[in-house]
């Protein structure tokens, strides 16, 4: 199965701060020959406000679904994926919620739609199947960090929540030596806690990186901008506060792009704060 001209939902974080997500996704889609459709007038997915402001969460999430129409909708952030999937699940199971949303959307002149919400992992897995990679990631021991919101939730996800394998399968297609199981593989990066208790967030991120060292990994690969922020962008802080040793961290799109020989700036690798040079050096 291939996905033709999906709409892309960028999400706030990837398009206002963690730019390497949008940059690498655009370059990768171009190299795969996949056209993307921009969503006109999209907004925040509502995810961070689900607890304190549930009606606003539901409105924002459903509004983005309504803009996407009934086609494919690619998400590039775990938080956005969970938020949109949960809203769709709620709309299907609660007539009260669905009625409220439809009334609210009609004030803006919008109509609720049911796009097929795709996670970056399932999307790129399908896109890459059967395709050769130009420069396989040979000899690199890589581990997957899924991030909680890609695999867990009340709806049926794209992979087995307690033992997923699709992200590892992609790393395998790229030619890496994949470490399919290591302690803490499915653990939380701590991102949500940054709004509440940063030290607790740093403790979780540090523990995650320490466990990847113990498993002898050369690098971690994640599909989520928030996990990437915790595990890559904050490594200097983690070293300072928790004595965490440096570990190369790549976004999924960057890992795929490296194997497809896309140039470093085209993958936003100048934004990685972890020592990705260790991974790239042997390849130049």
């Amino acid at each position: 199965m291939t996905f033709s001209s999906p709409s892309v939902y960028w999400g706030c974080f990837a398009s206002t701060k963690q730019y390497c997500v949008e940059i690498s996704t655009r370059s990768l889609l171009k190299s795969l020959g996949t056209n993307l459709r921009e969503l006109e007038g999209w907004s925040c997915c509502g995810h961070p406000l689900k607890g304190p402001n549930p009606k606003l969460w539901l409105y924002l999430a459903s509004r983005n679904l309504s803009l996407a129409g009934d086609g494919k909708l690619l998400t590039v952030c775990n938080g956005c994926y969970l938020s949109l999937k949960e809203a769709q699940h709620l709309m299907r199971s609660s007539s009260e919620a669905a009625g409220w949303v439809q009334r609210a959307l009609s004030i803006e002149g919008l109509e609720y739609h049911e796009p097929e919400i795709l996670h970056a992992v399932e999307f790129f897995y399908d896109e890459l199947k059967g395709k050769d990679v130009a420069r396989p990631l040979k000899g690199l021991r890589l581990g997957a960090h899924y991030g909680c919101h890609s695999i867990r939730g009340s709806f049926k996800g794209f992979d087995k929540a307690t033992n997923p394998g699709m992200l590892e399968d992609i790393l395998g297609m790229l030619g890496a030596e994949v470490v399919r199981e290591y302690p803490g593989r499915l653990d939380c990066c701590g991102a949500t806690l940054m709004a509440v208790d940063p030290d607790m967030g740093f403790t979780l991120a540090s523990s995650k990186i320490t466990q990847s060292h113990e498993a002898g990994l050369d690098g971690l690969v994640t599909p989520c901008p928030y996990c990437f922020e915790m595990l890559d962008s904050r490594q200097e802080t983690l070293a300072e506060l928790k004595g965490t040793q440096a570990m190369p961290v790549l976004l999924l799109q960057q890992a795929i792009g490296i194997a497809r020989d896309i140039d470093q700036r085209g993958l936003g690798l100048n934004f990685n704060m972890s020592p990705v040079g260790r991974i790239l050096r042997d390849r130049d």
Binding site: C12, F13, G51, K55, L56, R63, E108
Partner: protein
């Protein structure tokens, strides 16, 4: 207010799987999702929960491992809403995010970011197209209506 989560506290039989899988319980011993579910079921004063419900990492492990589909994380989300509705204190970061969202339709403002080579970058300098997002149409009005409880 209609239900926006999938919580079913009435199905809990206190097996404790949520707590044994909980990310926060491991680093904060007195945080126990099964106890939160128990307190809700027994109708103990919600005020007791107002502070601790913000400690949830939203890792969703409790949702995944609960044999009864109680969805403790969703219950905790709805307790966060109840805490806010009662006017009890909530993390400052959410207030700030709400403010930006009401103005822009996004959770953050577009930022200039310094890369590893100390180059200051923004969307334009990196050749990214202008954002197609934002508080266009009647979105801003809808956000303020919902926040004011008029919807």
């Amino acid at each position: 207010m209609f239900k926006t989560g999938f919580e079913r506290p009435e199905k809990c039989f206190q097996c404790g799987r949520c707590t044994s899988s909980c990310t926060i319980s491991k680093i904060m011993g007195d945080y126990r999702p099964n106890r939160i579910v128990g307190l809700v079921r027994h109708g103990l004063p919600e005020v007791m929960l107002d502070k601790i419900v913000w400690n949830c990492a939203r890792c969703m492990k409790c949702v995944e491992y609960c044999p009864q589909k109680v969805a403790p994380a969703d219950l905790i989300s709805s307790l966060q809403y109840q805490a806010v509705s009662r006017g009890s204190a909530f993390p400052e970061a959410y207030g700030e995010m709400m403010k930006i969202l009401s103005e822009t339709g996004l959770a953050f403002r577009q930022a200039d970011v310094t890369d590893r080579d100390f180059e200051v970058c923004n969307r334009e300098s990196m050749g990214l197209p202008p954002l197609t997002a934002g508080a266009k149409g009647r979105l801003r009005e809808m956000i303020s209506k919902i926040n004011a409880g008029e919807m």
